[in-house]
Symmetry: D2
Subunit: 353 residues, 4 copies
């Protein structure tokens, strides 16, 4: 437990009490291993009901695993994956896609975290121009919300999906914080999946209140072949799966997921409002989910980092990232306001002196 | 929760209440992610104290991951790994070593689950005879207790370690049920590691009462280079690590691990005694830990499987595997005795009739 | 150039003059790279005509590459490959299948180099019994002639092919010395391929008189997808392909391949006759192609190796391998006879004294 | 053999007669396989003498193989490789580095094909900022001459080498056309290697007059461990190695390499002069070796491609690449001049009309 204000990431937050309760309740007697237990079967059903669509569900302990598993379901080593130039799969997964899938990542320039058809097409044309000396583009991976917390509109998603179809690419969604995006769009999972023909989706969990656990959902049946072997081979098959899957049952019961994401988005909104009021600070990306990006005068950076766990996103422009969580409290917001206001006043006074 | 008697594996059992309690207690406020939290730091210390030796500790969610990670720390793709011909890393890990380490496994014929210097040397000589057309043997992996529940004696382990040193092989121990072996040998972790120079060890957890979680311990510092990248790249780095590591603190507090393994071994002993008394059944391996292997008349097999979750180890000789767990109860033992006695009597009657 | 009698392998022999001539003739002016040249197109046609069947042809520089490429066309990392326990792909390819395909090799016990349905089925049943904890058997690889020079009969091949079909396995033939086998069976490539439904075949070249060069032939169109990318990615696409492909045109012109293999087989036959006559030596495998395996008294081994380049196949039973080549001369045979006779007499005299 | 003027690449050209002669001379009697022959031993010596430095030499059939082998000698899967954003290893090797080394490529923005310390440092800082969530930068790969035919000056190379040392990166040189660069710099291999501490170098061959064949030179002994296994495992070990290695003996005899590269550079110079004179055409990169990049009016492109084998480097700015070769003749130059002049006049007339 840390006393310092924690806004570095939503994975610093604890599990929600209802989630933990579900884990405790799963601790009853013996159960079949490797997902043969009743909790896992129920969780798979709950997820299919939530998405309103048949899909194959694989639970995995960590987020990077969810992405790599999804990509390995869809791609061979001579194929390539289009993603944004700040995508988690490219920047923050320790080269796992290259090492475990063996495939090349093709980086598409992003604007406010999003990629658009024109730049994707340009990248495709270049790669295909290399013929067999290049790779065979096979999958388009999009992150919703993006790495900077922005949310693709339904229109933007539809355009990307249409492009993927036209170019014969599978569509993957890195949905590790999808809950926050759905709250912003005010749509359900069923609506999302009805509108956007996603082939495979990495569904977050840990960042929205689980102790641990993510899931991979295969919507395109052609990707299912061999998938249960790959689940095991990529080191993701837990023997006592119930402690993971039971959390998902709780997450989707009574729309707990919505409540938690809503709370986090709301707090981000309040944080953004504070930042807007502080002279010298300025938001660097629209605040649409639970992430806040802003720049500060360079001399503020060490002072902010001393008082708040946060991530220095970009040294060059002194850009800091805050992430609110389901458990960010009103008191946290007040503390933050005090810290920033004090900083602002002290620094202003120093300048005057 | 299942009503049927569960003797298929110790991973059907639930988590021990004290372990679950530790998880609940870790659910306090925010904590640094990726193992930067205080629980993880404490768990690493506890493990080093338990082993009486400095080592680098990596926590991972599942057992196959612990093995593959250990092998990847030590081997490159042109190197090979000697293991028994029934080793988990060869038979039951979905080809993960080949796929993720890229290295070849060299199978050494086993007797009662154990491998011996003579057969290892023969395998080494054959492989080295191929020169660069073969692979470069680099690691000897032993499983303690073995896949059939037998326990290498200290003398046997010393011989294997001496051989590894002489042949310039790293020594890996797949120690997913090491607790049960130590109870059998009546030695501590410190004693084990003082006697046997293990380079890297996959330490079990799930099978001895955890919800989930295993660990990899690097004792040979030359294997540490890049290990934290590999931990992440092989998809094993949990963001909220505390819920895993806190379990290890509880497991090693007041020697809970010993109590749980002792209980399981004891129950296996009682099960073995029952089997010995039933005409027609006969043990096929010495019962030294919590595993019981026995053969039954072929017509019994479906009847046993109907009443008891168990694993048909070998169809050819009608060999069944039972595994007792920390939570196998006196009532379970009584139930088992009744089932087997009834079966024996009914089948004898049928024959008479 | 070596003066010592060379019977270690057919890859010690030079290229046949007609093959070299073809290379020299290809050295005319500019030509499109990467197989777009007229020699390569013609060689592809020649091979299809020779086999009497449409297939996709990939030329590669080395034999190991031909095998690995064939396996990578057919298998993913979670799949497994059945082969004999002395198969080149398992023993003498430096772990390339594990490293580059990522797949597991399942070794089937062999008799005189051959594997049979019963042992294959046993291996299949064991592996499938592991479920997703094991691998998914996907391909049966057979070597014709075998590693010990024996030749599968058409009946044996048909049985293996039927088994492969029944078990949903692709059928691969490691045909690095297929020429010698066809001479023995007295059938053509067209007859072979009409009788046996091979999915993918590694066609030798170097060992039958080429300077360098092998080919992979895909007969099953479902394996073609992405194959030209894989050809390049596995480092096998030569830019000036004509110097490789032109050799195949010469090899198949006027049945040169038959003449060369016939010559090698014939010489092996003569060598076998010499060995049969020398007291103390005894053949350890039927001599059906150009390979001769025999055992000798242990004190002979260093003396033989001093005078003849040969391969000590098995130290345990003092088994030596000779391989005759298209350029093994009558003089070589006479020299060999003298060496062995002298050895025999000297050693006999020593014993008398 | 093609009648059309061939300026697409130097790999369309045939082998030089002296190289072919060396191959023919190597075709004498039996020789030890896998590089144990006298030609290969001599070629290794010749290369070491040429470079004036002890190094381990591996011959490989193709250029992509030379690069991937060099990278695999130096990097593990969790490490990363810095290269230019138009590097052959990234763009034109079918993802082989990702698939076979498993490592990530980090693209550094290039100017006229070259990369500079500032941009490399920025990329390093970004990647290292990700900590273990990123990769561990391990190698700097530079291409000399660059992909657009420009040549790093000695000063530029020294700066890059100093940076590599300071940042603990191995230095790799993709030297597939190094001959042309040395002619431009007017220095020898010995001078190059004395000035620049290269750890591992991919030495071209095919593009400078060989039939086939490249080499990897390890100058840093710490990269040698296991290298002969890796050579075999990556499918590069030819059995009849002499036909490859003998070519290198000829290439370095009487500085044939210099003569061939000089001739190619000279012809490129003449081509550049022609292009400079034609209204409408304009060079887009300095012509320092045997490559010529220029742009043309868009309506010229199909007309040029109809008459000349060439590579449309960049569709967006109608940029074409010509590459001269050792066998580009005076007649070819005259033909080219006629084609371009005719085109220019016809198109000008059309405009007039």
């Amino acid at each position: 437990m840390t006393e310092k204000l924690a806004l570095a990431s939503d994975n610093l937050s604890p599990a929600h009490p209802l989630i933990l309760e579900a884990v405790c309740e799963a601790n009853q007697g013996c159960a079949l291993p490797y997902g043969g237990d009743s909790w896992t079967l129920q969780a798979e059903e709950v997820i299919q009901t939530t998405f309103g669509k048949k899909c194959k569900v694989f639970f995995v302990p960590a987020g990077t695993a969810a992405n790599v598993l999804a990509l390995k379901f869809a791609c061979k080593s001579h194929e390539s994956i289009l993603c944004s130039d700040i995508a988690h799969i490219d920047c923050q997964e320790a080269g796992a896609t290259e090492a475990i899938v063996g495939a090349k990542l093709l980086r598409v320039p992003s604007k406010s975290g999003k990629i658009y058809p024109e730049e994707i097409l340009a990248k495709l044309e270049r790669e295909r121009g290399f013929g067999r000396h290049g790779t065979s583009p096979r999958l388009l991976s999009i992150t919703q919300p993006t790495e900077v917390g922005t949310v693709y509109t339904i229109k933007e998603l539809k355009d990307l999906a249409a492009l993927a179809k036209q170019e014969n690419l599978f569509l993957h969604m890195d949905a590790s914080r999808i809950y926050n995006a759905l709250v912003h769009l005010d749509i359900t999972f069923t609506e999302l999946i009805e509108l956007i023909p996603i082939d495979v989706l990495s569904l977050g969990g840990t960042k929205n209140g689980l102790l641990f656990g993510e899931a991979v959902l295969i919507f395109n049946p052609s990707l299912e072949e061999g998938s249960h072997f790959i689940h095991k081979q990529t080191l993701q098959l837990l023997s006592k799966m119930r402690y993971l899957s039971a959390q998902y049952i709780a997450l989707f019961r009574d729309d707990l997921w919505w409540q938690l994401a809503y709370e986090a988005n709301q707090k981000a909104c309040e944080i953004a409002n504070i930042i807007r009021k502080i002279p010298g600070l300025s938001l660097t990306a629209p605040v649409e989910t639970n992430q806040i990006f802003f720049s500060a005068p360079s001399e503020w950076i060490p002072l902010i980092q001393e008082k708040i766990y946060c991530y220095l996103w970009n040294k060059k422009n002194n850009e800091i990232r805050f992430i609110a969580s389901w458990n960010t409290s009103d008191r946290d917001i007040k503390t933050l306001e005090n810290i920033l206001t004090d900083l602002s006043q002290n620094l202003t006074q120093q300048i005057r002196v």
